[in-house]
Symmetry: C2
Amino acid sequence: MNQSPLQKARYQYSPKLPGMLRNGISEICVKEGNATQSVADQEKIAALFPNTYGEKEITFEKGENTSAAKKQVVGVILSGGQAPGGHNVICGLYDALKATSKENVLYGFKNGPIGLLEDNYVEFDDAYIDAYRNTGGFDIIGSGRTKLETEEQFAVAAKVCEKHGITAIVIIGGDDSNTNAAVLAEYFAAHNTGVQVIGCPKTIDGDLKNEDIECSFGFDTATKTYSELIGNIERDANSAKKYWHFVKVMGRSASHVALECALETQPNICLISEEVAAKKQSLSEIADYIADAVEKRSANGNNFGVAIIPEGVVEFVPEFKVLIAEINELLAGNKTEEFNALGSWEEKYAFIEKGLTAESMAVFAILPQTIQQQLFLERDPHGNVQVSLIESEKLFSALVKDKLTERGFTGKFNALHHFFGYEGRCAFPSNFDADYCYSLGYNAFMLIQYGYNGYLSKVSNLSKPAEEWVAGGMPITKMMNIERRNGEDKPVIKKALVELDGKPFKFFEANRDTWAVETAYTYPGAIQYYGPTEVCDLTTRTLALEKGE
Amino acid sequence: MNQSPLQKARYQYSPKLPGMLRNGISEICVKEGNATQSVADQEKIAALFPNTYGEKEITFEKGENTSAAKKQVVGVILSGGQAPGGHNVICGLYDALKATSKENVLYGFKNGPIGLLEDNYVEFDDAYIDAYRNTGGFDIIGSGRTKLETEEQFAVAAKVCEKHGITAIVIIGGDDSNTNAAVLAEYFAAHNTGVQVIGCPKTIDGDLKNEDIECSFGFDTATKTYSELIGNIERDANSAKKYWHFVKVMGRSASHVALECALETQPNICLISEEVAAKKQSLSEIADYIADAVEKRSANGNNFGVAIIPEGVVEFVPEFKVLIAEINELLAGNKTEEFNALGSWEEKYAFIEKGLTAESMAVFAILPQTIQQQLFLERDPHGNVQVSLIESEKLFSALVKDKLTERGFTGKFNALHHFFGYEGRCAFPSNFDADYCYSLGYNAFMLIQYGYNGYLSKVSNLSKPAEEWVAGGMPITKMMNIERRNGEDKPVIKKALVELDGKPFKFFEANRDTWAVETAYTYPGAIQYYGPTEVCDLTTRTLALEKGE
């Protein structure tokens, strides 16, 4: 029983394409729009991309296919963390490629960008592809985090492409991977390789979006999976009436995932990292904010609640950022050895007390001991604190407990902790993600066939039924600005953080005081693939609110 | 948007009753079977239940309803941990009660058995009930863990029943709650109160089953929810190819939940507590067993895997049980104060080393420090180690890491940890649990109406379509034996552990060596409520295997 009943059933699902792509390959024509400019730093970016800058936005329409007949040999790469729907991007790409000509070939480079550099690949055929239709995961070819960013790598990539007669590379990745896709596209153009590069916007974190990209794929399914679990936990909290659940959710720096889960489940508390940064909140202020809700609910007889904590929040607390920087400094070089040679935690603590500024020591002192030890004992190969490993769900519940003790709180406060991340990255894609991803891949091939290079596959109008979606492409350079990274000016796609004047946050802000005190939980339940449209096909609340729906 | 789209859609679902209950109340007659005997200790149990022992097993059939017309006033109680479907038991009970006579009344006692003692209740009407149909959770009236077991409590309960003219109490609970239901039934009979007691078998742990009860409700939905998540994690592991995931699952002492999840997802490793006990395995042996799989997989280039750890496993490791007993002894009485007065962990460690036997100290010494500290720092109000709080998923991954280091393992071993429990107890019930629970409640009322007391609502033939299910009742005393509890002989329903010669375990045993080395993962995906029958209506692999399917 290697295939579950659902997996077998999902093989039968036909992903929905945008209306304009439904008439067959011969009926897809291009409409070119205006020439584009990068969102900022136009001169610098134009200078960095002399061969690919300023290209036109394009959309596809129903009409005679005027692309030149040419055998296409395409290589596809999955880059970075898993996101539901990645398989469908490849399926859509394969279907469009084969529908155009049976002679066309699709290679999959294995285990991420490194597969291209090592010439490690598979050639897809129908049987191979069919086993992965509408399934989760990136196991079709594996993924990896190698970055394609150096001239040496590009030269190797060009050789591998030449060896196989590859005409185009499709990179399925997040903001960094697509930034690198643009640089690779420029390299290929500058060196007259004739190889095109097309990107597809992937990440469950939801931080690859802008005026052109309405959302990255995988965000819908991942947040629905986390919301299912948070809703179940809310219902448990409201049944047992004796626990506060602190739930950390993945999402890296941005709080899109936490915010979407909050909109779906209406918990008592949801921290938003971007707000913490904007208001320069301290750990103590955040703990006070949560403790207020605990006290108010307790006064109403409700000694239970649910709080959502975004993965990256501690890095947005200014005083905590300073503390981390000081700790990294304190242990730099051979000072780590000195520290490790100290026997007991008491001796280590004295060493820390001596080494930190009074301000940072004050922050350090209020942390629970397990977190204090985590900061010093689990460091990355460069000796730096691994902020992503900090159990911030336990940190905040401990701080809240201390606050309540300080305040003389006489109610009950028992906390339980959860972290959801890996649970949602490889779920079977929702109908939305299955459709969106298939369309992105199908569309990516049409961009290749029409000769575009350095474009992101773009499907928009996503809050509407798929019939009304708009397919096209956008030069990646259009989304770029210059940012300082590791001491260098780099052209990058701007990472989208939660906008505090955006509609999703505003809606949350307008309701959270009520949700904090009342029990206004919403229980989304498991993702449904069959059944009523309103249950199966709606995408995120974030997108609906952004679209003013 | 307090109601999610799925919740609204689930209100429309009509739970399926067993065929024999589908013809309307007037067409349900009783067929009495043989008089029953308890499964063991017949004389002792007969002596303890003079008024309710030895009653007949009964089944319902299609035929003229011959029950006496009588106004029924029923009180229902949710007891213990949440399990998906509890709301539907109440809905089924309500519907049968009102279909019999509009004059009948259903009360819900709030927050568990304490609601009966404190006379804290709601009276159900259509609007109230309709808001909870086919939903998860116990929030309809709340649940609680107060036990109804003393004569004083029974006397209070009798008074509350008399005050409201209550004719029957329905207790929805696990093995202990149903044991108490039987004792209460006997009390009511002995005191001629005229109040009947009916139990319903609830628990996600799956440990309330026997030759009469095929499974407890909630087990299906909870294990499907955990299996969804484990499958997603497996797919992530198989995509990223760099982590070993250690997943602890709820289930208390028994490993039914872990085993069912393993049958659904085919992980590399699943520990079964009952086997650990039978083979008297040591922590070191278990770690060796897992490390073997890590090494074999690594030799094949697979530095990733998934291991399922049942919640209760450490208590089944003989040497660990001894260690815990010694620790409890070591800290008994005022020795806790002495221990706490010691300053550093090093001093505490010396105290421990002096206090434990050499054998237990050897076990203690191999534990990771966080677990060592957990054992001494987090104790229950009686000063005992809180075994359920031990992060055994982290314990085993740490032990495996040590083993690999010892062995000079040169591959990669990076572990991630998960604990699933609260995520599944309040999910929307699967179609199976929605149907089964509604039938249990409907059936419970028919037992009341026909005058039975001290019975468990029984629905069987559950691996078949609902049409073929068999509805009836079984005297609770039939399932009892005498066990030693807290130094006293007590009549109790025997807790069902995983049988090592049972078909589910045998199937697992026959396949696990293959699963350990190969990547034979199965991805069940989210529970589906709509769509193909084979996706939506199948119950557990455990039941299918037990039934020889």
